[in-house]
């Protein structure tokens, strides 16, 4: 990494993001996306990028409303942290599905189709769009599609969409200051020294006596 650090850690955290797979929807969403370039191979790394400054955002207002409702079902406000839509996750998703890279182009089809599906499903079951139904009703739909493993065959595609949508929503959310605070990430600040974990934590885990140095006999403790 390292050059591989980030990548390694992403892999450690979970299986990497699903790449373009055979599960790709056969047809393509027809949205008017012009051929765009990315940020190139030498972007300025030290500045703050605003969503939408590099490529136009393709989500319609309707799509954004459904997206906001669904990402708040996935990450609602609770006692610890705010809801996904309140910290800009919809903008993150809009930037993502609008980007001119292969993974994002694949996701655009998957996500925009999925949002359309969930709205249609909501109208079919409850006569109203997904953003307008109540929490119990939203959960009734999501319970059918929240597990790729358990979803019934007729919901397989929707479950595939939901899994990806949840991953991206979490990706957008936990990279914000509010998300970092939620998981109690306290790094990315300069320290005078690095001391490792407090002894009390190590004692609790039974690790207080583990030493890193090899003994003279070559025996490791």
């Amino acid at each position: 990494m390292d050059r591989r650090t980030t990548i390694k850690w992403m892999l450690a955290a979970s299986a990497s993001m699903p790449l373009i797979s055979k599960r790709a929807p056969a047809d393509v969403v027809t949205s008017k996306v012009p051929v765009l370039k990315g940020y190139g191979t030498d972007p300025i790394l030290t500045r703050d990028y605003r969503r939408g400054e590099l490529w136009p955002l393709v989500m319609t207002d309707t799509q954004r409303r459904t997206a906001a409702a669904l990402c708040d079902v996935i990450l609602p406000a609770d006692d610890v942290s705010p809801s996904a839509s309140s910290v800009g996750v919809v903008d993150f998703l809009a930037e993502w599905v609008s980007a001119p890279y292969d993974q994002q182009k694949y996701d655009r089809t998957l996500i925009l189709r999925g949002l359309a599906w969930i709205d249609t499903e909501s109208k079919r079951r409850f006569g109203k769009s997904f953003e307008a139904i109540n929490e119990t009703e939203q959960h009734a739909i999501c319970d059918d599609i929240c597990s790729e493993k358990r979803a019934k065959p007729r919901f397989a595609r929707a479950a595939n969409f939901f899994a990806r949508y949840r991953d991206l929503t979490a990706g957008g959310y936990y990279t914000t200051p509010a998300g970092r605070k939620d998981v109690q990430y306290i790094g990315n600040v300069p320290l005078k020294s690095f001391e490792g974990a407090p002894r009390s934590v190590l004692q609790k885990l039974g690790l207080a006596d583990v030493v890193m140095r090899t003994l003279p006999q070559g025996k490791l403790t």
Partner: protein, 600 residues
């Protein structure tokens, strides 16, 4: 005026150094500190880590949360410019569509090359690693021994700053007195790995990385680095004072604006430039070493990427440090009546015996590490601990089914969340969403551990590169075509890694994410993808089957030297960068010697 344009190139250089990474940086440093006039030619653009490094930037400040894209293959903040697996306008060719025969080639186009983003893992080769053929009958011995290189490992460690312990383990050498900086304390998961892996006989010791855990010893080291050279001592002492110690934040892979880790641009080049003996031309794409009538090289031809024009530079000695494959490409493109198949290629071995590191990975989740209190585990970015190869005796006795070893690197801790950190958790959460998902994320954050095996590949006849007969880059220069093949030694090793990782995860009371791959051919990562490619102009003791001698001096043209990884006749599991630097220093000392004796 250290950074110059092609028009300002003077006629009076002692040495041209092609490339500015670990090999080029070290070569230029050693040569210029000892008084040689050096011209460095770098294919990429000028790059200044002190102003360009995204220190403390968070993923939400980057497009797409900093994710990998076709433009930035290792993520937005990775210190790679104008390159990655592809360089615009500069293709390379695969000889086959078969994934097992594929070689991926990582190239940046920037001053300092890959040293700007590398993992900083800095391990010494051990005594066995230089005499592999003698030990097990496979591959090639080096024409030098560990004792020949040890003093240079010491020097490089003193100069660049490496943390680690001396553990006295087999074929895992101790450093000279005072060479290593203290390693950072292990993070929680490191300690759990150490405790549990040791129970099943797998050692875990302090990592060795090029990060300053404290300021370098600017009082004592300069005299050890440059004995009898007060001016060099003064320059490096001054420079060491200006390098800050690590402040335990912001990933090393972005580069380091406070110069707390090693990259050529922050460690080798500033003191070399301070001597006044080094000129650097960037955007200078060298494609040919030219031959004079006397049979010696008289200079190089390069494309000035800014103007697209062909330019020349000349010197008494040419040092190729362009990275293994690019060095091969330059030699193969340097055709003349004398060398119809490329310069210094009378053996036919230029491009041969290309090697990478064997890589295989597995991840796990460790319930013991769930719901820990908040801890800052940024540390030195990674690798506070690692596992050196430990089964030497079993292997030599033929009990393992593969001939060479691997080490293990661990990816763990409560790192800054990225876009994928909480992706694909269904195997743990059962597909939760809502408040339950938030609770799950809090619970599992920091409880993952990744295992990366890094193993030795034995050189073989199937793995090499050559010029493609048709394809040219945007400058009209012939490009490389790669051939690749693993032997059973590598694939069995990869399968062994998988089993070891599973055993450690289970010893930690954890769950394997997915399943360990028992088929090594499926577990092994693509050739080249570890970015440890070496070989291509291997050193040896016989001009008939090697390209250079032990100093990287080509057998055929005595004033052409190779100081990058191309000279490696074997590729130990140890990451190659430290050895590249040690050998580059040693070769440069030899060049200085020969120049003083007027033999060059």
């Amino acid at each position: 005026m250290p950074f110059i344009t092609p028009d300002q190139i003077s006629e009076k250089y002692d040495v041209i150094v092609v490339g500015s990474g670990a090999a080029g940086g070290q070569s230029a440093y050693t040569l210029s500190m000892e008084g040689a006039k050096v011209l460095m030619l770098e294919a990429g653009r000028k790059y200044d880590p002190q102003t360009e490094t995204p220190m403390f930037q968070t993923p939400d400040q980057a497009p797409l949360g900093g994710s990998s894209t076709a433009d930035k293959n290792f993520g937005f903040y990775d210190a790679t410019i104008d390159g990655g697996w592809r360089v615009p306008g500069e293709p390379y060719v695969q000889s086959t569509d078969n994934p097992a025969g594929r070689f991926d080639w990582w190239r940046p186009r920037m001053l300092g090359g890959r040293t700007n983003h590398w993992g900083r893992i800095a391990l010494r080769n051990g005594p066995y690693d230089f005499k592999v053929m003698t030990r097990d009958g496979l591959g090639f011995d080096w024409p030098l021994s560990y004792a020949d290189v040890a003093p240079y490992y010491d020097k490089v460690e003193l100069l660049v700053g490496i943390y680690g312990n001396n553990d006295g383990l087999e074929n895992t050498p101790d450093s000279g007195p005072g060479c290593l900086l203290p390693p950072p304390p292990p993070i929680v998961c490191d300690l759990l790995i150490a405790q549990r892996a040791r129970r099943i006989g797998v050692p875990v010791i302090a990592g060795h990385r090029a990060v300053l855990t404290r300021q370098l010893d600017f009082k004592n080291s300069p005299a050890r680095l440059h004995p009898g050279n007060p001016r060099a001592q003064q320059i490096i002492a001054q420079d060491m004072r200006q390098r800050a110690a690590c402040f335990w934040a912001t990933p090393c892979g972005r580069g380091c604006a406070i110069r707390a880790n090693y990259q050529s641009t922050t460690v080798h080049l500033p003191p070399a430039l301070a001597t006044g003996n080094l000129d650097i031309v960037t955007d200078a794409m060298v494609h040919e070493v030219t031959l004079g009538r006397d049979g010696l090289a008289d200079g190089v031809s390069f494309i000035d990427r800014k103007s697209g024009k062909e330019r020349r530079a000349s010197a008494r000695v040419i040092v190729l440090a362009a990275s293994s494959c690019e060095t091969v490409r330059i030699l193969l493109n340097s055709k003349s009546a004398h060398f119809a198949h490329g310069l210094a290629n009378s053996s036919g071995k230029v491009g041969r015996y290309l090697m990478d590191t064997v890589g295989a990975s597995l991840g796990g989740q460790i319930p013991l590490l769930e719901s820990l209190p908040p801890l800052n585990e940024d540390g030195a970015s990674e690798s506070h601990v690692y596992t050196p190869w430990w089964l030497y005796k079993e292997q030599l006795a033929g009990k393992l089914g593969f001939a060479r070893g691997y080490h293990i690197e661990y990816a763990d801790g409560r790192r800054m969340p990225g876009v994928s950190t909480f992706a694909s958790l269904e195997w743990l959460t059962g597909g939760s969403y809502g408040k339950k998902f938030k609770e799950d994320v809090r619970r599992y954050y920091g409880s993952f551990v990744g295992f990366d095996g890094r193993g030795e590949m034995i050189p073989n006849e199937k793995s090499y590169c050559e010029l493609d007969p048709k394809v040219k880059d945007q400058w009209g220069i012939a490009v490389l075509r790669f051939h690749w093949g693993w032997s059973d030694h590598e694939t069995r090793q990869a399968a062994h890694m998988q089993q070891t990782f599973k055993n450690i995860i289970e010893a930690m009371g954890g769950r394997v994410n997915g399943a360990p791959q028992s088929d090594g051919a499926k577990a092994i990562q693509t050739g080249g993808s570890l970015i440890h490619e070496v070989g291509g102009t291997i050193m040896g003791s016989d001009p008939k089957n090697s390209v250079t001698n032990q100093w990287g001096q080509t057998w055929d043209v005595k004033n052409v030297f190779v100081t990058d990884g191309a000279v490696f006749p074997s590729n130990a599991d140890k990451n190659p960068t430290l050895t590249i630097m040690a050998l580059a220093w040693r070769a440069s000392d030899h060049i200085l010697d020969l120049m003083r004796r007027r033999e060059l």
